[in-house]
């Protein structure tokens, strides 16, 4: 066929393109196409797998947003095979590993993530001991013993859309960790063979720690991994619970060390802080927790008449006393301020009393009334001072009423005078 005679746009085309021009055009074409081709490492895996249904489906958008894809660690890095060829893509001769079994996953991830020299290329400050830690964890030990139901890397980090933990969408971001753990640990039927409770997630949701993170946005608040560890996850032993809590709650722990409860709890094999505060459902402590009445925790062990319970009652009285006094001072100062009296300094001083109450509540962990008294006494002194200031302000306010009476008297006299004068001139 004489191509030069093919109609082009209705016109009979003659070969006007010279050889030079054709080469030039081709070069320009290649000039653009080669970089494009090089930039996109051919990934024939995704071409098919993004169109397949589950369980073979891989969401191409999600994967491209993942940290691995961004660092150009793609399908073949884990699954092997030949990404360039659509036919040999899954050829075992090309190194294709197929679906990685659960037992193989930690070692596979560890091939890169435990190689310090390798990881240095990507992020020199990333830890590389995750695999080692994992093998010390409950999950790791059970996996080594052949249980594939336990968590492996992909259960927490997800498979194809892994993100760094600082990313808020990551399943291992502090805000999401509890939810991630709950996928197994809140599933009663899944956890039945292990005989572990599954109430931790819902308990934690009611705790102050959860409130601090979820409501106050405090990312440093503890979540599951803070106390249990992440890769080396295991519940802290009874003896080491206190160490875990004291990482943050330093003062309470120091006081506990010198308190009578240390020996007592140790002898009874009680789990330190958890004994009174619980482990997951750690609620807002209240003054009634240390008392001799209803809602008291002390009565769990102490009985009526015991010196321990007497101390509890005393401490409770000290705390609620101070709280009442603070409320009383606040009320009188508010009243004075509303009437227009200047009580700013007294209101500022009252803050010290609130500070004392906070410190007194911490010192409860000494379980000695004398130690608590040190704070409550100084707090009480402040409330006394501020209450007197409030009284003084109200006295000044009453002085105004004296002034009012004087002017009312004078007004009254004028009114009487006017009345009689009018009567007089109209007689």
């Amino acid at each position: 066929m004489n191509y030069s005679q093919i109609p082009l746009m209705g016109k009979l085309r003659t070969p006007t393109m010279t050889y030079t021009f054709q080469v030039g055009l081709a070069s320009v074409f290649l000039w653009f196409m080669i970089p494009c081709a090089l930039a996109q490492t051919p990934n024939t895996c995704l071409d098919c797998h993004s169109a397949l249904d589950a369980p073979l489906n891989v969401n191409a958008t999600e994967f491209s947003a993942s940290i691995h894809a961004q660092k150009e660690v793609t399908c073949v890095s884990c699954h092997g095979g030949d990404p360039n060829s659509p036919d040999d893509a899954m050829n075992t001769k090309a190194g294709f590993k197929g679906k990685i079994t659960r037992k193989q996953i930690p070692e596979l991830c560890g091939k890169c993530h435990s190689d310090a020299a390798y990881m240095r290329q990507y992020n020199p400050s990333l830890r590389t001991d995750q695999l080692v830690q994992y093998h010390t964890s409950v999950h790791g030990k059970k996996l080594d013993a052949g249980d594939t139901k336990v968590a492996v890397c992909t259960d927490c980090h997800t498979v194809h859309d892994i993100r760094p933990s600082s990313d808020i969408r990551s399943s291992v971001n502090p805000l999401n960790i509890a939810t991630t753990c709950s996928h197994c640990h809140a599933d009663a039927s899944y956890m039945r063979p292990y005989g572990i409770k599954t109430t931790q997630f819902s308990d934690y949701g009611k705790s102050v720690h959860h409130e601090a993170m979820a409501e106050r946005g405090d990312l440093s608040a503890p979540t599951c991994t803070t106390c249990h560890g992440n890769h080396g996850a295991a519940p802290p032993g009874v003896a080491s619970v206190k160490n875990v809590c004291s990482t943050c709650h330093v003062f309470q722990s120091q006081l506990f060390e010198t308190s009578p409860h240390k020996a007592a709890f140790g002898a009874a094999g009680l789990p330190g802080c958890v004994t009174c505060h619980s482990n997951h459902q750690i609620e807002h402590p209240s003054d009634v927790m240390v008392s001799a009445g209803e809602h008291s925790i002390c009565t769990t062990c102490h009985t009526d008449g015991e010196p321990g319970l007497k101390t509890a009652a005393e401490i409770h009285t000290q705390l609620s006393d101070l709280q009442t006094r603070i409320a009383r001072s606040k009320e009188i100062l508010d009243r004075a301020a509303e009437s227009g009296m200047e009580v700013g300094q007294a209101q500022l001083d009252l803050i010290q009393a609130t500070d004392a109450l906070t410190k007194a509540r911490v010192s409860v962990h000494s379980f000695r009334a004398a130690v608590v008294a040190k704070e409550t006494v100084s707090g009480t002194a402040v409330t006394e001072k501020t209450y007197q200031a409030g009284l003084q302000a109200l006295r000044e306010r009453n002085y105004r009423r004296v002034g009012l009476s004087i002017s009312l008297l004078v007004i009254g006299a004028t009114l009487i005078g006017l009345r009689f004068y009018i009567r007089e001139i109209e007689r």
Binding site: V250, I351, T358, S407, V410, T414, E424, E426
Partner: protein, 158 residues
Amino acid sequence: MNMGEAVSVAAAPDEKVSGPRRTFLKAFLGGSVLASLGSFLYPVLRYLVPPAETNMGVDSVVAATASELKPNSAKIFRFGSKPALLIRTAEGEYRAMSATCTHLSCTVQYRKDVQQIWCACHNGMYDLNGRNVSGPPPRPLEKYDVHVQGDEIQVMRS
């Protein structure tokens, strides 16, 4: 207005009603009116005198005098209705910030030994720029500007 044959009730001509009673009433009325005017005028006159403290303490406060603080020491002062902390660092620089801990609102203090700001309630630590460096505080302390004007150390809201 229709006056018609109005029967006016008015002050009758003087010659009819003078005498001790009227004089007394006039004096009494005059006296009480003057007294009442005095009781109104007295507060107004005192009001007009500016009070000693002219600073309303909103945005700036004189926190201390230049000689008051030695290096590596601090003082708590009142800023508005809240406590604030004025620090003189070991190098002699002044720093000022809110003294209300961002954890549970205790009042913080300056620790000479570690040259940091400490909250005694739960062991929170802040550095000299108010940044929360350890313990429970979730946020830094609010910083204020410090200006040295002659002998006065003035602290202003940023």
